[in-house]
Structure formats: structure tokens, C-alpha cells
């Protein structure tokens, strides 16, 4: 087994150190959680978005019909609820009091000094060699957060119109998706989108959940509100399906990187390769409808998952562009292949770091932050050129085979099986370390 030790991020005030958890849980817990004990009668705002049967890029055409652009409702709701939690003191620190700067240079990497985020937590062991792991109800998961940490329920509207209910009951049967705060925010508005909370899904992308995340970006309509996803083995710390999101009104370096078009899929989705960026990756954009884009990306993610390749996803530009980055840092770290100097910075290269937003824990690193340093760290995260080509071959097989993009053909069930077997063979021959099953390796920070 390959694993690394790292300080887990405290995303909820109800998240105790592992071990403490589980021991101390009696019924009727009295802390207003989301389990059966506290759920009856509980209410939360509900935002139901309008499903779009068109491309995101066509959305701005609506201005002609309706000259005064409609208020960005989701955006306001999220900001308002988040500010409310801030004034109620639910966060571990005031993230707006954390120093942050754009590092001079061509790409404008962003550095934040955050000395408070990782305090008071013991390092925990994380298995990094399995991208898919079963849900474990004994570990911390989002059904254990307090209701006050949940901002609202988020779902597709049934009648095709935007709907808002300030006080909707939480109907566990109906399995709502919810948006909750991250009590250790890395920027203003840092939230977690938890698809179908009560289904207790493991961290694993499926078509329906990714479409939900993409719709949230579309619906927020703010190019500075991005969603991110970390797979297990690519620095997700909680094995309960979730996306993250926050506001940062500067461009991310990854968004500035030039791209080279590789292919245009049937549904109009353009897939390009990132150029001149330290981490190799793909960019998905366009598509005749939001569903086309969503399905293409989901197919690619599912392919990576079933081939046990850790990856990160960034949804940017109001859901118009999606970056997909397979990575191997945790594996290298577990195998002892990362330099002590890089490990010392304790930067965990998850989706935000890979996109160019570096959260640093030591003032020294913050003051010395340079484009060169950021670049060196991220270069360690990237797959090698050869490996990236191999992985691309798998992805392209997955996204060009099925009837990608043609709408609902995929449903939400177990969409993995169709790509699984044929690619497994290729994978085994090309990258033996990924299937090494028994190796034990611990990296202490």
C-alpha cells in the first residue's frame, strides 16, 4: 500500500481527529447535525436552477431579449449566506485578513500566506494508490456537519424555471445536493458542493454529479467563481463526494496558458492540450449544450478513475472551460521521490495549487515566492511527457468511443464498465508502479 502522512484540512467544526470520531456518538446528538436525530423539521434555502438546452456561450445572447441583465441570483445567495456565517463566527479564521499577492512574472501565480489553516491538527495517514475507495461511514463525512454550516440546497428545477424557496424542508428521501461552508477557507466564499448528500457517495465523478457542478458554475455566472475537484490520490482528504469552490477575482495562471487544439468531438466539444504550463493537462470547452461538455469531461474522469490515475479538475470561466489534470505527486511523495526542499513547504498540490493559487504556510515561503519556485513545484506534479501521451490515448479512446455528448444516454448509474477492461490491459503494460499492491511506504512531513 502506498500512503502519505499529511495534516488533514478541517472543513467542518464537527470534524474531530480520526479515532476520536465514532467513539463519541450517541443518539439525539443535540448539535443540529444532518443525521436522522436532528433532521426532522429542519429547513434550508433551496435554489433550483433552470436546465439549459444550449451552450454556455449562447447565454449572453439573452441580453437582447432582456436588456437589463437578470441579477446573478445564485452568486448573491452564496455570498450573502457565506457572509452571514462569517459574521456568526463559524470560520476558524478570517480569510480576508490573510495576506495575499500576485507574484510578478509572466503567469501571475498567486500566493497566500495562511498560517492558521493547518494548526491544531495531527498528521493522518492517507492511502494514495487507490483512486476509488469505498465510502466508510465511520470516518468523517458531510452528513456529520452542523446544519448551520450548510448554506442551501441546490438542484435542477422541475419545471424548467429558476426557483428559490427561502425555507424549504430538508427531505432526506429526496437526497438533496447541498452547498456547505469550508470552515478553513482558502479564499472568500470557499464552499463545498456535496451532490446527493444522503447517498453517501465516495469521492468519484459520475455524469450526474459533474453536470451538477458544471451547472453551478454556469448559474453563478461569475468568471471569478471556479469549482475544483480532487480525486483520491490527488489530495482529496475526505472520501465523500464533493467539489470545492471560492471567489478570487484575478485570473489563474492555468487560464492564461496557451493551448493547442487536439480534436473537436461530435457534440461540438473542443479538446485542447495545455502548452507552456508546468503541469500537463487537457482543456475541454464549447459544446452544443452544457450536457455535451459535461459528458465529455465526465467520460474522461471516469476513464482516469477506472485506470487508477489520480487527477484534478478545474471548472472555470462560468463553466465554459474545464481543465483536466492527471497527476502523480502523491505517488512520488510516497515513493520518496520528492525533494526535501519541496516537502518542507508543505504545499499539497491539489486543484487550486495546480491552477496557480498557492497557499503557503510559512512566511519565509511567502516572502520568497517566485514564479520559478511555483513552476518547480508544479513540474513535480505533472506526468512525464511519455506518460501523459499514454494517458491521453486512454482518455481519447473513452471520449470518442461511446456516443459522447448525445444527452442522457449515460444516466447516472455505473458508467464505468464500458471503458474499464480494454484500457486496463494497456495500463498494466505501460505503468507497472500503479498496480504495485503491497508496497508500504510512509512519508512523514
Amino acid at each position: 500500500m502506498l500512503s502519505i502522512r499529511r495534516v488533514p484540512t478541517v472543513v467542518s467544526n464537527y470534524q474531530k481527529d480520526e479515532g476520536e470520531e465514532g467513539a463519541r456518538r450517541a443518539g439525539g446528538c443535540g448539535r443540529n447535525c444532518l443525521n436522522n436525530c436532528c433532521l426532522p423539521g429542519a429547513k434550508l434555502p433551496l435554489y433550483a436552477f433552470k436546465k439549459l438546452n444550449k451552450a454556455v456561450s449562447d447565454v449572453n445572447l439573452d441580453v437582447h431579449e432582456n436588456r437589463e441583465p437578470p441579477v446573478a441570483f445564485l452568486d448573491s445567495l452564496l455570498l450573502g449566506e457565506w457572509e452571514d456565517r462569517m459574521q456568526r463566527g463559524l470560520f476558524r479564521y478570517d480569510v480576508t485578513a490573510c495576506e495575499t499577492k500576485v507574484i510578478p512574472g509572466e503567469y501571475g501565480f498567486i500566493a497566500q500566506l495562511n498560517e492558521g489553516r493547518h494548526l491544531k491538527k495531527r498528521p493522518t495517514e492517507f492511502r494514495v494508490d487507490k483512486v476509488l475507495q469505498p465510502f466508510d461511514g465511520n470516518k468523517f463525512n458531510f452528513t456529520k456537519v452542523g446544519q448551520e454550516e450548510v448554506l442551501f440546497q441546490f438542484e435542477a428545477s422541475e419545471d424548467g424555471e429558476v426557483q428559490f424557496f427561502p425555507n424549504a424542508p430538508i427531505d432526506a428521501e429526496h437526497s438533496p445536493s447541498v452547498v456547505a461552508i469550508n470552515v478553513s477557507p482558502i479564499e472568500y466564499g470557499h464552499v463545498l458542493l456535496i451532490p446527493r448528500l444522503f447517498e453517501r457517495l465516495p469521492q468519484r465523478i459520475d455524469h450526474e454529479s459533474f453536470l451538477l457542478a458544471l451547472n453551478m458554475a454556469v448559474e453563478a455566472g461569475n468568471p471569478y467563481f471556479r469549482l475544483g475537484y480532487n480525486s483520491l490520490g490527488a489530495f482529496a482528504t475526505i472520501n465523500h463526494l464533493h467539489f470545492q469552490a471560492y471567489y478570487l477575482a484575478v485570473p489563474f495562471p492555468i487560464e492564461k496558458a496557451p493551448t493547442k487544439k487536439i480534436i473537436k468531438l461530435d457534440g461540438g466539444v473542443k479538446v485542447s492540450e495545455l502548452l507552456n504550463y508546468p503541469v500537463r493537462g487537457l482543456v475541454f470547452e464549447g459544446g452544443n449544450t452544457v450536457d455535451h461538455l459535461s459528458n465529455a469531461v465526465s467520460d474522461a474522469c471516469i476513464c482516469l478513475q477506472s485506470n487508477n490515475i489520480p487527477y484534478n479538475v478545474l471548472i472555470s470561466d462560468c463553466g465554459r472551460r474545464v481543465f483536466l489534470l492527471p497527476q502523480c505527486y502523491a505517488e512520488k511523495q510516497a515513493l520518496g521521490e520528492v525533494s526535501a526542499e519541496l516537502l518542507d513547504t508543505q504545499v499539497n498540490p491539489a486543484v487550486w495549487e495546480i491552477s496557480g493559487h498557492m497557499v503557503l504556510k510559512r512566511r519565509k515561503d511567502y516572502e520568497e515566492a517566485s514564479e520559478g519556485n511555483a513552476w518547480r513545484l508544479l513540474a513535480e506534479v505533472s506526468l512525464s511527457k511519455e506518460r501523459f501521451q499514454e494517458v491521453n490515448a486512454l482518455i481519447f479512446e473513452a471520449i470518442t468511443s461511446g456516443d459522447n455528448g448525445s444527452g442522457n444516454a449515460h444516466g447516472g448509474q455505473d458508467p464505468e464498465s464500458h471503458t474499464h477492461e480494454k484500457v486496463d490491459a494497456i495500463k498494466k503494460s505501460s505503468h507497472p508502479t500503479m498496480v504495485a499492491g503491497t508496497q508500504e511506504c510512509l512519508v512523514l512531513q
Partner: protein, 407 residues
């Protein structure tokens, strides 16, 4: 819309003398002028050439943001570059795919630059010139341009042309050239739906302007700037194309103005470090609520809203929470310019910049009489908090950039 039209007139004539319009109309180029201080950063002037090129009428364009000319084939990376140039108040020259009113796409060389107030160095307008590009295949090696010139999305290698571009280009370059000639002659091609007609069609392939077209853009910008400069001399509010002094003391940069302008609610920013803590930003909704003009508000202490029957204890409470650097909500009797009074539910909160220090206090106003909440609406309290959040994001982010004018 009525008030918007008024604001647009005002935007233009507060800086330039009356005849500026006539002088601009004389210019043959395709260009637009926008006002970053107005909510939504709308177009306040569009030249005849521009209207002819895009097929829109003047009334359809004035008051809109320039992004309405974009469509599915427009490179998002290029749009981001324009967004950032605006945020950083600098000029940019970039190739961009735009769409006419009838949905037909066309390539143009977009050249945009800020117009500064000579006195306080603040950006008062942006000028954008749109030079249509006569499309021809890009030659190897002609890829990278000078600073600020876009590398046509696909990077600067030029390799790409050979590997991916050439075969397709062989197939359709003829028809493309033909199409471009048609487009260049301004005769609408019969397409009803932008995107569909051209989906998968190589109109999206990057395209390079000739040196002549680039020079044309620069010349046009210079001509427009000299007209604006000339007509601003007459009003005494000189403008120029280069930032000539430090940004106005205490006033938010135009990039912050743009982000704040997106926030629809009534709010003001107060600078706690200036003597008497003056208002340094007031939203359009605030002006509408109180009846004051912007210049009557900026630089003045918030107390101009108080009057005879305003409770002095409440005023103390506000002062106290500013001193304690805390958020607070009060109910206060305020007076409009016409001296009519209203109950104001005022929420105040400190706002920090990128270095984590308090830069402003934001005050969000809600008129109590309007407090009837519809069943499916956000509560007024929540709406106030959302404005606070949006202001916090805007202030924090706009002071982050190395080149920002207020840090």
C-alpha cells in the same frame, strides 16, 4: 432605462465639451467608447463604421457591454485577456472573433486603451477600435507579435499550423476566403443562428492581422485620443492616453470601480484613513435612493444623510463600530436631497484589502418601506450581506495584482 440614458449623456459630457460628438462622428473608423464607472461598464458611444460593421442600430448598442458581440467561436482565453487588460487599466491589441446582429462571425483586430483624467490619473473611459481582418492563411513564423499582441490562442509555435491546420485549410481555404470577401463587403450571409451554421467550421481557427491592419488600429486610436484630448481642454477636465499622475488619493481604481459597478444594491464605501472619513464610492442605486449626484456625495462624510430628527445615539453607534472595526446593523432616519425622510436599515462592515488590512468600510442601505418580502425572494438582510460579500471580494482581489494602482 430612462435614467441610464441620462447617465450615459452625463458620462460623456462631464468630460468633453458639447461638440465632441460631432468631431467623433467625422472619424471613419470602427470604434466604441465605454464608461467603466457606470454599472455594467456600458458602451456610451459607437461610431457609424462600427454600427455598419455589426449590423446593430445605435440604440441597440448604447448601454450594452461589448461582450454582446461575442459568440461560441470567440476564444475564451482572448476574452479573459481583455478582461484583465481592463482590470489593469492598460492597452491591449488582440485578434477576436465577433458576431454581427444576424449571427455571422467575423475576425477583427481589437485595440483597446484607457483614457485617463490628467489631474487625478483615474480612468474615465475606454476606447476600443475594431479593425476587420481580411482573412488569409497564416504564414509560418509570423506567429508571435509584440508585447500585448495575442498569440492567437493556440500558442506561438507556428508548428501547429503545419500539424493540424494545413490539411483542413487546403480543403476549405478557398471557401473561407470567399466567405471573408462576402463578409468584408458587409452583405449579410444568410444564417439564422450563430454557432450552428458555423459549428465545426474553421472560422474559429486563429487568424493573423497584417501589419497594415495593426497600424490602422494604432492610427485610429491615436486619432480618437487626440479628439478627446482636444475637446476635454475646453472643459478644463483634461484627458490623455497615458497615466500622468498617481491615482486619485482615496478614490478606488477604475478596475475596482468596474467590479463594484456590478453590484446592484445601494451602498457606499468610506475611507477610514482620510480626514473626516469621506465617502469614496457610491453605487448607482445609492444615488437613486437618495437623489444626490455622484459628485455631491464623493468626498463628503456620510452625515449628509442625517437631519433634524436623526437619533444621535444611532450615529454614535455607527462611529463606535467603525472604531471597534466591527460589523453592525442600525435603523436610522435619513434624508434625501429633497429633504424627504426615510427609515434606513443600514448595515456596515469593515472591508480588508489583499494585505489583510482594513481598507474601507462598506455601508449598505435598505429603505424600510420596501421591506415587504415576497415568498420566493431573498430576505433584505441576506441581500445586504450579499452586497457586503461582493464588495469584500472586489476590494481584496483588486488590491492583489502587482500593478494595481491602489494596494
Amino acid at each position: 432605462m430612462e435614467s441610464q440614458v441620462g447617465l450615459i449623456e452625463q458620462s460623456f459630457h462631464s468630460s468633453y465639451s458639447f461638440c465632441v460628438r460631432e468631431a467623433l462622428v467625422e472619424l471613419p473608423d470602427n470604434f466604441t467608447i465605454t464608461d467603466p464607472c457606470m454599472s455594467g461598464h456600458p458602451i456610451v458611444f459607437a461610431s457609424h463604421g462600427f454600427l455598419k460593421m455589426t449590423g446593430y442600430t445605435e440604440t441597440e448598442v448604447i448601454g450594452q457591454n461589448g461582450r454582446i458581440f461575442q459568440g461560441p467561436g470567440t476564444s475564451r482565453r482572448s476574452v479573459m485577456e481583455i478582461r484583465e487588460a481592463i482590470r489593469e487599466e492598460r492597452a491591449i491589441q488582440i485578434h477576436l472573433l465577433n458576431y454581427r446582429k444576424d449571427g455571422t462571425p467575423f475576425w477583427m483586430l481589437f485595440h483597446m486603451c484607457p483614457v485617463f483624467n490628467k489631474e487625478d490619473g483615474r480612468v474615465i473611459h475606454f476606447v476600443g477600435v475594431q479593425v476587420p481582418i481580411l482573412r488569409k492563411p497564416r504564414r509560418l513564423g509570423s506567429g508571435s507579435g509584440r508585447n500585448g499582441v495575442d498569440l492567437c490562442e493556440e500558442g506561438s509555435t507556428g508548428m501547429h499550423d503545419v500539424v493540424y491546420g494545413s490539411c483542413r485549410r487546403e480543403v476549405c481555404s478557398d471557401s473561407l476566403l470567399e466567405l471573408d470577401h462576402v463578409l468584408a463587403r458587409e452583405s449579410p450571409v444568410d444564417t439564422t443562428n450563430r454557432g450552428c451554421a458555423y459549428a465545426g467550421f474553421e472560422i474559429e481557427e486563429p487568424c493573423e492581422a497584417s501589419d497594415m491592419e495593426k497600424r490602422r488600429a494604432v492610427t485610429a486610436i491615436n486619432n480618437i485620443l487626440s479628439v478627446l484630448t482636444h475637446y476635454s481642454e475646453l472643459t478644463g477636465k483634461l484627458v490623455c492616453g497615458k497615466r500622468c499622475s498617481l491615482s486619485g488619493v482615496g478614490l478606488p481604481s477604475s478596475s475596482l470601480n468596474i467590479s463594484l459597478g456590478r453590484i446592484k444594491q445601494s451602498f457606499v464605501l468610506i475611507d477610514p484613513y482620510l480626514p473626516d472619513m469621506p465617502v469614496v464610492y457610491a453605487s448607482d442605486a445609492f444615488l437613486k435612493l437618495t437623489g444626490y449626484a455622484r459628485h455631491e456625495v464623493l468626498g463628503h462624510n456620510y452625515r449628509f444623510l442625517s437631519g433634524l430628527d436623526t437619533d444621535s445615539l444611532t450615529l454614535c453607534q455607527i462611529k463606535e463600530s467603525i472604531k471597534m472595526e466591527r460589523a453592525c446593523t442600525v435603523r436610522i432616519l435619513n434624508y434625501r436631497k429633497d429633504r424627504s425622510s426615510f427609515w434606513n436599515i443600514l448595515h456596515m462592515s469593515p472591508v480588508r484589502n489583499a494585505s489583510g488590512k482594513i481598507a474601507y468600510f462598506v455601508g449598505v442601505q435598505t429603505e424600510e418601506a420596501c421591506k415587504k418580502q415576497e415568498e420566493h425572494e431573498m430576505s433584505p438582510e441576506m441581500r445586504q450581506l450579499s452586497a457586503v460579500g461582493a464588495v469584500k471580494v472586489a476590494v481584496r482581489s483588486s488590491s492583489m495584482a502587482a500593478g494595481s494602482s491602489r494596494s
